[in-house]
Amino acid sequence: MIQLEGVEKTYRTRRGDLVPALDDVTLDIAENEFVTLVGPSGCGKSTLLKLVAGLTPVTSGSIRVRDTVVREPFPDVGIVFQHPVLLPWRTVLDNVLFSADMLGLDLQRYRSRALELLTLSGLRGFETRLPRELSGGMQQRVAICRALLPDPSLLMMDEPFGALDALTREEMGFELLRIWEARRKTILFVTHSIPEAILLADKVAVMTPRPGRLARVIQIDLPRPRTVELEFDAKFKAYSDEVRGLIFAGRKARGDGG
């Protein structure tokens, strides 16, 4: 569904220096595949999402989504950021409807679907509350519902659970998998956490920084639905050693230290 070919991105700083953010990234993502991008800060994971969403142009190379070259934002994408960034004056329900509103869709038609999504994510009964009355995890659930409302075939998540505590984070991961299993879509998921990357994904793309490069794409061959017990599985350990090895090998080679 998504093809990245030799994608390069170079930023220009205020002083006019050119900073390479991504270097020669080639990646194929199939329809309904769950792909996680893992790597240390500054490896261009978030940049990659923005490029695929058409929010910033590539410097060279090409990105195709369903055989169409991405040049500008296209509405078939849902985005979830690290922070929920809800609108504080809108109720939970109206925040979910925000995506349909901005897309210019008929809000009355999407109301029932919004309620359905809120039920699915355990937020039924909170639809008239304001965001500030909700916990961080609940706010992020609202943000996910907002992204899912127009039923996009592509979901981009930029460290969506990064600001949550460890327990909520794990719970949200499994919840996301449950929703994804019910309504399949292609997910591009950025994370710092190696266990999270492996537990969620069909495919883990390991990245190394300065400039951002794709070190390896690892096919995760673990049974679904995924469970907490998998983390004690020998295969899981092997995957996580492989990912860790790739990230740390990159560090040693550049002399960053451990």
Binding site: A53, L55, P73, F81, H83, V85, L87, S99, M102
Partner: protein, 257 residues
């Protein structure tokens, strides 16, 4: 019980302090025999204010509508200006130095010239009030508009919403708390602007009453006008706070459990 005690102390303590200060003032002016034209006693001020009650109504009304006129004009000018500054880097470079320059000019120094050009009617006072009030609204609204979380702008862009739609549905509502803090500063400045305008030349308004009463040594009348002016400023400030609460109910602190 504890709650009612707390609310009692919150309102009763400042009220008692004020009452005590007035009593001390009253006693001091009698015991020390301070002449009325130097420092009138509260009772003398109150008596004079009562005497003037109908005339005060008219003068207060003049000052009030000069203030509100200048305030309204400053909103009408400042909000579009702030929007232009935030949306266009080119206009920001062109307009910002001008706005700062205008702010740096002492308005009291400009007022006589303004009155000379525009005339001694209420319009010139509205203009002076506008000149002192519009700067905080421009600066605060621009700051608020520029503070929109970048994620929300990216989200709007990914949904291909127009810049206008993003402004109406995201950026402006997001900037409302900043806009209102600008308004709160502006409304008190607008009162000062109107009074300064009246000082320079007028035959109506509370500023005029203060100026003319002092030239007749009627200090108690000047004091009554000052108190009335302060009351107007406090009421207007309170009104802005009330509107803020009505327009942005989500900003109110969460109710205590």
């Amino acid at each position: 019980m504890a709650g009612s005690l707390r609310s009692l102390s919150r309102h009763a303590v400042p009220a008692a302090t004020l009452a005590a200060a007035i009593v001390v003032w009253e006693l001091a002016s009698h015991i020390l025999r301070i002449p009325k034209f130097v420092m009138p006693a509260p009772s003398q001020i109150a008596a004079e204010a009562w005497e003037w009650r109908y005339r005060f109504l008219g003068h207060s009304w003049v000052t009030l509508y000069e203030t509100l006129g200048g305030f309204a004009l400053s909103i009408v000018v400042a909000v579009p200006l702030a929007t232009l500054i935030v949306y266009s880097p080119w206009l920001r470079r062109a307009l910002y130095p001008l706005i700062v320059l205008l702010q740096a000019v002492p308005k009291i120094a400009v007022a006589p010239v303004l009155l000379l050009v525009i005339g001694y009617g209420e319009t010139s006072k509205v203009i002076v009030a506008f000149l002192v009030a519009f700067f905080p609204i421009v600066v605060d609204t621009a700051t608020g508009l520029a503070a929109t979380p970048p994620e929300l702008l990216e989200l709007s862009r990914s949904y291909r919403a127009s810049a206008f739609k993003t402004f109406v549905k995201v950026r402006f509502p997001m900037a409302l708390p900043f806009f209102f803090s600008g308004l709160k500063v502006a409304i008190t400045l607008a009162v000062i602007g109107a009074v300064v305008g009246e000082f320079i030349g007028s035959d109506r308004g509370l500023g005029y009453v203060i100026l003319s009463s002092t030239s007749y040594w009627k200090t108690e009348l000047a004091f009554a006008s000052m108190i009335l002016l302060s009351l107007i400023a406090i009421l207007l400030f309170g009104a802005v706070c009330l509107v803020e609460r009505l327009v942005c109910p989500w900003l109110a602190p969460a109710a205590e459990e």
